[in-house]
Symmetry: D5
Subunit: 146 residues, 10 copies
């Protein structure tokens, strides 16, 4: 079964059961974004986590097996066409070099890890229009010299 | 004067004066990332903001004029080669669709604005290695129907 | 069911019933272009809108369900090959920077929203050859400073 | 002199004289967007038009000569990085096929000309935020059969 | 049915009946190249034309219906790999700018229409090797000023 | 001296002397399109041809030398952005495969040479709008079997 | 049947019969490389050639029919990933311009035909390691002037 | 000094002295194609070879130094636009997979080296038109197993 | 059967039997990375090696046959999206030219063979976090002069 | 001063002084590959390291300043054209997925760091031809769950 089929089956099962990503995250003590990453085959669950989700959503064995594999990661085209996803690409185009400059000023030569990393999405109520708050938190990795 | 030359001159003047982006931000009541965006010709300053920065860094008139223009935005190649900037591209590749799913679950059909938007970079001290915390905050824009 | 299959089924049902996009738009009080966007899986309908269209075109439940999802948006190749669609790409290549200059002159630094946005297509009769009139109307979003 | 240098000189002269694109358009009875197109070397002026603009902005002869040539048209990268210009690319990605469907429904097989074509930018005041209105008007060209 | 399948079915029916594109063109008073364009789903026939071709080649109703739609046009890769088709790309690479210069010298600023346009292929017998003669004929469209 | 500089100098000299490509072609018994190709460094002249043109346009020796070299051919981007040149690309996209089918029907497996090849541009007066007529004539090259 | 399926069927039949490309070439008096080109749908056989190969390999009628068509030529990605094929791309990157210089020195302005062209692959035994010898032989085509 | 400047200087010196690549090759006992490769900065000469060529063509010391460096190799665009060079790309597109099949049949799994490799260009006189003969000779490298 | 299906079947059989790549490598005296390459259709086995693996994993005949063919090599997109694979691309972007400089300093003009080549992956235990050690070993191939 | 100019100056100074990368590495207790990375502006030196190298090679102050900056990393085209560098790209194309499979088998889901990473180049003498040995050593980073 290809990854996009696994995703489709998972999303259908979730919809049928009327669960949110947060609901599922609560069952296995994980953030909703991490659960969504698992649904899109971008993360791998432990056997226990897969069993709990499978039990909740009543999944086929083949899908459960896929949840515990180390997946080939990366989705979509080089430049995303979906407007919501594109905005993150645009943010990188516009604010990427400024962020690099500020990070180097604060930390020296190195990068923010995208592996030892968490990401959360919050909703901020605002009378002028609700706001999306994205928080990324990654370990700073200084360049090793040798 | 091309944008990359403006950036170069600004960075040299800042280095010579020994100022951080935060130091300059304090003078005009702006975040350090916004100041860095201005340095990379990705944002436009008011006349007053430009004057204060010019006075602090002793800039040429031509550079000051550039700071108040509406610049052509977007930096660098389609897929960034710099490892620090690439990680943000990778985050979008890996977590873009999961974020889209979570945002739609919480907000409905629409996007996070990249214009009515702020971004900050913080340093979290951690004995296992300091961490970079990026906070993005953008207005949710629901798709208009007509 | 993939989006292109949904589109195909919808177009076939519409043809069979002999309805125009405007006919369908009248039923749900929406513009014909918005209805066409819905058919191409670029917009999401409310449950009520989906029910009315489904009833008019006698659609399968699976298709109706797709109409209310938040779709992954963006169609076709990076540079369109269809001559009609290409002309809009060409207009952007030729008049994109001039439009940017005029918009900045009139509004300052910011963009026209493509989300809080409407688009209509009108036919102007003209003895020298009928004309296509496209009207785009989007909220101006000024760049936030922080 | 390369086109981008011509553009730069023209924009500087316009800024120095404090003229808007509309001011210059009034002198030669042309729309502000067409004048901006001329500044970006995407249109060609008559000798008379070039003379009036040259006189108003005090231009070098070499620049005046460029204004009357038939330029090589098309600006910027395949996918634009500037957020304002990108939004028009996104509109084509999202609404291109729907527009095609509506135009064919109203006009039959053919295209909207991008040559026998006009484009205007208007500002609509709105208490919830001003709006940008773009009007495109192009001759419908039916496909010739032979 | 996808366009490439329509093309395949049409070519098979034509081969089975032993008809040339010119034979079919004679039936509906159209040029052989236009008929070939119809077979490759790049042009749309009237109901009458579709009926005559269908009767001659004994086609399924689904294929006949496709012949009268306004198709999404454009075939093949960005740079063609087939040597015969590539040569036209090469001609554009080598002679495109020279043609532009000559057309502007003769007609002023504008383009040759590819819509109000005909194309024919003739065989010239020559003892040193037969020659292919391609004649393109398109309306000159002057750039509108506004 | 780079090719684009040679082209620029040649076009300036031609403009100064008020000569058309046809005028220059008459002096050396060549078609105007071939002369334009020479100006764009896409063809190579004999010593005699170069001398006549040089004498007519009063050229530097360095430019004359370039006219007789075998140039690196091919101009402009992969997909042309100039609307006039793009139309030839579009013609290939839309009519390339149909032309291939007709040529094979008339000639068998092989190609039209783009080397043993001529191209002319004619103006056809027409009360409904003048027309551009392009005639391409290339030797048919059958595929060799071995 | 798509070309890649034809290729697959032909290679399987050849393997089953234990024939080399040279064995098949001997039957129809053609070089082994030409036979391989036929198998990869890059060349077209005469009716007689197709009949002999069909008889030897016991092929379906549908495959035999494909062997006599004028195929759409060109295989694989823009830059080949297979190391053996890539080396020929590399040779062109490294030695393409030098070959061009030597060919022009020896022949004047023109090209080596890839149509009136043969190609053979030979094995040279060598104690230090056998060598592959590729011989290409194409007609020189001088650029026509007109 | 950039590579393309070195090439330009070398070609000018060679032209001034009226030497062919073969003349220079004779002086250092190398093939004309290898000498052309050296001129295009795709090969590196020994100190002795560089000295002999320098003496013959009267070169600057800076250029001589470049001849003995290990250059960054690879010239020109991904898909070549020059018709002569393109034909070699086309040969790879059309005959690449057939050559791969024949080489594997004769040699097993491995490649033809493009490093332990020679290439020559010969002129074959032919009353029907002279022919270009390219001979490539590279060591077969079998894939190592480990 | 396509290569990706062969890979899938092999990985499933391996998982079912609970074997590691190293286990299988021990059976045929090959490194685990080479075995993995075989599974991904990037290397070719001898008949004996294929028989041993087939016997261990209980494979279909069709899959066994594929293991002994010379495969078309190269996997995945031009720029890899999977973070683990991307890091090797990044290493080439960052350290490619430095490695080239060091190799030339130590060996002269030439390359490291990727054919006469081995690659191993080792795990180094480290209290601060285990480390991955990749060892590549390829024959140096000096550029042949001729 | 642009990075490529810094590299050029550094390489010239190194050549003039007759130092190898290893010689310079010994002075600052760093590996030769790291020193080469510094020369190609892919790593940043401490003030002390920069001072020692500057003193050894007699460098301008502007170059010394560049050595201590956090550079924008990444060199060369998307697919490298230089044969030596390309081989590493090929290795990733051919062995990337196999390495991924082996690393996951040994370490679980995660990546090899390219930041907490070292790389060395060694020469192995071999009577059948010297060999290049590349050793990469990077910290394994397991994917964080949250």
């Amino acid at each position: 079964m290809e990854s996009y089929e696994v995703t489709k089956k998972l999303l259908e099962a979730k919809k049928k059961k009327g669960k949110s990503f947060a609901d599922l995250g609560n069952l296995i003590n994980r953030d909703e974004v991490w659960v969504a990453s698992l649904f899109y085959c971008q993360a791998s669950a432990s056997e226990e986590e897969a069993a709990i989700i499978s039990s909740e959503l009543v999944l086929d064995e083949e899908i459960v097996a896929k949840l515990t594999e180390c997946p080939s990661k990366g989705l979509g085209p080089i430049v995303p066409t979906d407007p919501l996803v594109y905005r993150f690409y645009e943010i990188m185009q516009v604010y990427g070099m400024p962020m690099k400059a500020v990070i180097h000023e604060k930390f020296g030569d190195g990068i923010m890890s995208a592996i030892d990393f968490t990401l959360s999405v919050d909703k901020e109520n605002d009378p002028k229009g609700d706001r999306v708050k994205i928080t990324m938190n990654g370990k700073f990795l200084p360049y090793k010299k040798w």
